[in-house]
């Protein structure tokens, strides 16, 4: 006889959002980067960000290598969403961001 375990109702989509990693690579001077950041804030997205122009030394080298891996042209803003798959959104593209963030 199969034993059954009581399983509470878990909203899987919320669990996935918790595990998801969102990172914004931006420049502190750039208008589209600012728009992207405002968009993420307005939609309560949990994300990390780095202003690559404000970094120095090794931090800058590391951040640029990360950006390059996702976006060989190293342009900003670059948003990387990791939720099992990796999605990269280059430039301020609201509809693309909505799509990959499930908004």
């Amino acid at each position: 006889m199969a034993r059954s375990f009581p399983v509470g109702r878990v909203d899987l989509s919320k669990e996935v959002v918790k595990l998801r990693k969102v990172k914004l690579y931006a420049l502190s001077t750039c208008g589209w980067c600012r728009k992207t950041k405002r968009f993420l804030d307005a939609n309560n997205v949990d994300y990390e960000y780095e202003y690559v122009d404000l970094l120095t030394g090794n931090d800058k080298v590391r951040a640029l290598a990360e950006v390059e891996q996702y976006n060989p042209r190293k342009s900003f803003p670059t948003v990387v969403v990791q939720n099992g798959d990796t999605h990269v959104v280059i430039g301020y593209k609201e509809s693309r961001l909505r799509e990959v963030l499930g908004l």
Binding site: L27, C30, W32, S75, G91, K93
Partner: protein, 166 residues
């Protein structure tokens, strides 16, 4: 850098743009943020590097991205806006069209200029750039395409002709 300085730079660029047949983005808050970015870069590097690109901080390496950058006019041609959307087409300035994201042109190969020329270098610069003449005021310039508006007399691009000996 203060918001007054950003405002002053905005007023100056706007009047210079209008005086030369260019248009600034009609979203003034967006443009003021870009002005702040240009002024920050001026403090940081000594020149107004493009606010939406990562400058090296060495003038010779950043020459092509000192605002207005080398890519402004080809991007205005193709997308109706420069990469930062500081400069926009007349249509966008008038609110008849929305700004679209502009892909980074820097580091891409420029479109070949004109047709392969068998003719001697007449109407071209030695580097192969065609020369254009404003039929209205006679202004001459050497660039892949004529400007959207003549910077001298402000007529539209279609009033230009290729400059060549008869």
């Amino acid at each position: 850098m203060t918001s007054d300085e950003a405002r002053a730079l905005y007023e100056r660029l706007k009047s210079e743009a209008e005086g030369a047949g260019y248009f600034l983005n009609p979203d003034v808050d967006f443009v003021l943020d870009l002005m702040a970015g240009l002024l920050t870069n001026e403090e940081r590097y000594g020149y107004q590097a493009c606010p939406c690109r990562l400058a090296e901080g060495v003038r010779e390496k950043d020459l092509d991205i000192i605002c207005p950058c080398d890519y402004r006019d080809p991007d205005l041609d193709e997308y109706g806006a420069c990469y930062c959307a500081l400069y926009v087409s007349e249509e966008i300035a008038l609110g008849q069209k929305e700004v679209e994201p502009v892909p980074e042109r820097r580091g891409t190969e420029p479109e070949p200029v004109g047709e392969e020329q068998e003719e001697p270098l007449v109407g071209f610069t030695r580097s192969g750039m065609p020369v254009w003449r404003c039929k209205v005021c006679g202004y001459l310039c050497a660039r892949p395409q004529p400007p959207l508006k003549c910077p001298i007399c402000k007529v539209d691009r279609d009033r230009f002709e290729r400059f060549a000996w008869p």
